[in-house]
Symmetry: C4
Subunit: 191 residues, 4 copies
């Protein structure tokens, strides 16, 4: 089974998710810059989510460059990943709408964790299909970024019960960790 349409479909869904979030930004009520002030939490939430979806597109791109074939399980795991990502506009909107309060920030963190789990499942299934000595198998070696992410996600979700702003900072740190594309795969494809 070819990976072409899976990539095209994923690109389509990711492009829509990343773009429709801007529809959640309501029209400022007023004609001066001060009317933008109540939108600041929503814009921050939008920027953070845009970066996250961008990271997932980026890593998805990298992962599938090292994948040569797909099977039914990978198709469904990928759809589960797209489902988790499709909830981001919803959890982002709630977080922005409530001006970054405790429960919405926790739900947003859980959403991010679900996306991370789904991505890991796709990766594991792809390695199982391609073999440990494949491009992908050799590329995904150490898991420093993954372990760091888990720590910051857990910390962010826990702290959000008391200080949701600190939770958002934790999620931002995870985003910064991943902003650099996965050099491991790139290096391996070259070497």
């Amino acid at each position: 089974m070819s990976k072409g349409r899976l990539e095209a479909f994923s690109d389509g869904v990711l492009a829509i998710i990343i773009t429709i979030m801007v529809l959640e930004l309501p029209n400022p009520e007023g004609t001066t810059f001060s009317a933008l002030k109540p939108l600041v939490p929503k814009i921050i939430a939008y920027i953070l989510s845009f970066i996250y979806v961008g990271i997932y597109w980026n890593n998805h791109h990298h992962m599938f460059q090292a994948i040569h074939k797909v099977n039914g399980n990978i198709l469904w795991a990928n759809l589960f990943l797209l489902f988790c990502l499709s909830l981001i506009p919803f959890t982002t909107a709630w977080m922005g709408e409530t001006h970054i309060q405790s429960h919405p920030v926790i739900l947003y963190g859980i959403n991010l964790v679900l996306c991370a789990i789904a991505f890991t499942i796709v990766e594991k299934l792809a390695i199982a299909l391609e073999g440990k000595n494949s491009d992908l198998g050799r590329a995904v070696g150490g898991h420093k970024k993954e372990y760091l992410s888990v720590i910051f996600y857990v910390a962010g979700i826990s702290i959000s019960f008391l200080q949701p702003i600190v939770g958002v900072i934790c999620y931002t740190v995870v985003a910064l960790i991943w902003l650099v594309p996965d050099k491991r795969i790139e290096r391996n494809l070259k070497g």
Copy 2:
């Protein structure tokens, strides 16, 4: 006529359908998890529809891998399929909005039946064009899944007059039947 743009256009429409449904989820009214409670029927409806559109994308993908050429009839039958699928966000929203009541669940079931009929028409036209001994013709042999689906669709729609929840369960059973991609085509392409 090449099938490339038909696949690309279908992927685009399916990607949009599967993603815009999340726009139907309204912002929770409140800042605590309890505000999510009234959304539960809508989220269930969203998940079911996401799975259905995922199944159609999956089977569409499989079917067109076994198709080598398309004609005007197939183009239009495919557009009719996309039309039926495009109604799913509408019927899903009504079902969720009314907290899974009788008539909305019946309409949702009718929508699913229409999609199934449209998909069958595309398949029949493709077999007529490719020939009974083509990849596709040999792949689509028994119709166990199709017959089972008809039974559960009819049962689900009928029961929904009295017990709409049971109707939703029937539709869910059909989804589970199809969650496994069509092994027949995959097997045939390999053999």
Copy 3:
């Protein structure tokens, strides 16, 4: 300049236009089938517009199969065509919302005429670039469908001042004329 991205971008825009119209369908206010009754004019408008956008995608597909190169003028004419088509969800919504009244039906007709003019411009520019003896040049010979369309568009827009329903019927006739894909190009590519 390659036509690949122009086709991909057009497919994307057309896929979005054809799908977002369903977002204009409001949630039925009520839990029984009778709640669907006030939506009937909107659903009719949606179906007609879906068919029109489908026809444009279909003919766009056919035309670009016979086109081998594009230049800046064709890119911009194509964007103008996409702009005209992007107004269809807006004029469709007004026509449906007002339950098919005089002025909205006229505006809808003008929108359809604009799309037809834009399509013709793309076609003319492509023939100018490819040459009269190209696949496209030879394919587009008689203009029976075009002349018939002009007559029915003018008739539909005129009659809509008095009887908007008859206007909608005229537009439907044009759609039926075009439902059959352009056999001329198909025949020519084969011969």
Copy 4:
């Protein structure tokens, strides 16, 4: 790293941005043409933004035809460009909603400047990767259009504090400057 998926993803995002702006056009309140009158500023804003996104798609298309490889930096600069462009529906809606008042027009201008900066960053990174003697490096020589744009952007934003309509005219002039696709790259690819 191949540029294929970057182009496909960018096409998807640009197609969605250019199309969802039409969703911002509200239903006319009334059944006669006079109901369209209050929408005129919104429609003007929509047309201007449609042209701008069209220009960006066009120039993106041209630039990436001269680019043969991409790296992580270009991916992220491109995502930043898409982010800036994704804000256009938001700033357009505010400008239209307020009937082209001072602050919204300034914000719109700032948005356009951000897009121009982001595009320039992608271009610079691509030239750095491809080399000064690459197709792209030789193509991007003089910067007449860029300098003219800066002047008109600065003029437009400044004047908008007093006369926002003149600001919109300045932005329109920039659009007209760019409506012609970048002949330099086209010429160079041929020569």
